[in-house]
Symmetry: C2
Subunit: 365 residues, 2 copies
């Protein structure tokens, strides 16, 4: 079992995190460069199981917030994640025993490693989303009752903003968005300061190693000329998610996009081929893929993962790169029970995204 | 000399602050209600001269920021000013010896009294603007080198946001505006934490008593059927400003308004009567009156005060209430030397507001 993350692990981790991103979560490229530099400068980062964090220890979540597209043009200094954690810890008067990823889908798989390396603390093998979501309250930390604040925002100028005490996590989301916008569209944040006890109760466990295993399995399948979708599906099951299922194979024949309310919304239509010949699959997305509808019937819905992979090499395709003619395999991955409770579905079930649909787990459909 | 501010002083203070507001600064009505309640609840507030503040003591500026129009609809709880000061003092680890008005023109004459009464500390007889201005960096505290941050923003929900460390006061203005917007358009802020030494070096002195004296002089002139403009002009001179001069008398014949970049911009034209018969005066405003131009020649310009008064009763008319047909007297009041240094004019001289004009003091024109 992986006990440390070293630079040579980052390629597989980024790949696995992109698959957990389900079309969103941002391209981990810049984040990977940041993590690589940090790990080479400060050495590998230790990985801790949730149960190895003492109950009374302080853990702080760390992530990037805002538009991944901005992140690629407004290059970070690399010091922001550690600066945010350090300031938040000082503000509340604790020593950060470890940092925890807020989100493991996409670019935010890398940010905690950057912070952990510079701070010389371990990273917890867990996160608060189990995939990618667009809001700071879309985390199990919120769902299971933790306040997101105090939270500290940092940018490349060394500016630090503390959201000290806010009435609830929706106010936190609202202010976080305001600060991020004024920081130029992207910021790094340390938030959800919690005890080991809170972490054990609220975190989605094992998602860091899950992402690594998914990435490594995909690379091994590519090297061994085996089916990447099958390898990814099996890795998901080993990591505590459900076994990933091939939902559909075909050609993208329609892409609809609009950017409204700060989200990249849209839908793609895939015309089936092979055993899916004669069928069509529509995938709706809001930053992330949310819903797969086969011939008018919903077959996989948020929070379960709808992953669009290149049909040939199995690489994940983010929604912004989908275009007419792409040959794709669509994989569905069932999420673990902690992500499917009534409380969780209230925050990130289909209705929370505006669909008039009750959640049905992929495993039952 | 006034040593305490009691509820019965608030009417005159609000009136004087409106005149110092030079058409802007917001109607002090709601602020006056807040101050009246605070003074009745906690007792009168002591007024301290700048030189009575020990050099090593901590002073914190306090004010409302955002749109005065919002302030009139989103009624405050009354606890915000003290909450902001208290949190900021705790954040930097000091005890606030006194609070200082950030601005004495308009509604912000009242906010420091609300904070001081609840906190049981004196208010300093000084401010950072000497009139009203729309930016948190448009203060002598900024002009003479103090950082505005750390600053604490509070709202009626008890939300607290700390702008902890920002690269400069322009970044502070930018973030302050972002937080204020997300707070619904108005917030209370404690900022520019400073020592008594810094206060002595940077503050505009005596402006609280000046506003009181202007208000009382106006009320006395009204009661005694004397010329209010003359009374205001004399009070200004007693308070360390230049003697106020009647610039023009006439009828408003044109009002132009547009709201651009978050400012109420516009101009009015006044047709002269009496000894000004045959002349016209144009006044340009951006929230506050900035420039008076008589028959094409600038005769009074920012930071000197251009005050539009009702020709009959001498009451100040805010820019938003100016309309065709109003009979007005325009008073110009020269500001003290600390507001006219090259550093100060760089921040709030005519060029800082986009006019291609060198500043000429009213006394020389």
């Amino acid at each position: 079992m992986t006990r440390r993350i070293a630079p040579e692990d980052l390629h597989a981790l980024a790949l696995g995190a992109s698959i957990l991103g389900a079309g969103g979560g941002g391209d981990p490229y810049i984040g990977r460069m940041m993590a690589e530099k940090s790990l080479r400068t400060y050495g590998p980062v230790s990985v801790l199981d949730v149960d190895d964090v003492p109950e009374g220890a302080s853990v702080i979540a760390v992530s990037g917030v805002g538009a991944p597209t901005v992140f690629h043009e407004k290059i970070p200094s690399g010091r922001e994640p550690a600066a945010a954690v350090r300031r938040l810890a000082a503000h509340i008067g604790v020593r950060a025993f470890a940092v925890c990823p807020a989100e493991l889908g996409g670019v935010n798989s890398m940010v905690p490693l950057v912070a952990a390396a510079e701070l010389g603390v371990p990273v917890v093998d867990a996160d608060g989303m189990g995939r990618a979501f667009p809001g700071v309250f879309m985390e199990t930390f919120h769902i299971y009752g933790l306040p997101g604040t105090p939270a500290c925002f940092a940018n490349e100028h060394g500016d630090l903003v503390l959201l000290d005490r806010l009435r609830d996590n929706y106010a936190y989301e609202w202010l976080a968005r305001g600060v991020t916008t004024r920081f130029g569209g992207h910021a790094f944040v340390a938030d959800y300061p919690m005890s080991g006890r809170d972490l054990r109760r609220t975190a989605i466990r094992g998602t860091l190693r899950l992402a690594l295993d998914i990435g490594r399995s995909l690379l091994a399948a590519q090297a061994g000329h085996r089916d990447p979708a099958l390898a990814i599906g099996a890795a998901a099951e080993r990591g505590g998610y459900g076994r990933g299922l091939r939902l559909f194979t075909g050609k993208v024949v329609d892409v609809l996009r609009r950017t409204t309310d700060g989200f990249a919304r849209g839908a793609i239509t895939i015309q089936g081929s092979g055993e899916d010949q004669g069928s069509a699959l529509r995938i709706d997305f809001q930053n992330e893929n949310l819903l797969a509808v086969r011939d008018g019937r919903p077959i996989c819905m948020v929070p379960d993962l709808v992953c669009v992979l290149d049909a040939v090499n199995g690489l994940p395709i983010p929604t912004e790169r989908l275009r007419y003619g792409y040959r794709v395999t669509v994989l569905g991955i069932p999420v673990p029970a902690i992500m499917r409770t009534p409380e969780a579905l209230g925050v990130w079930g289909p209705r929370a995204f505006g669909y008039d649909l009750d959640y049905h787990p992929l495993s039952e459909i």
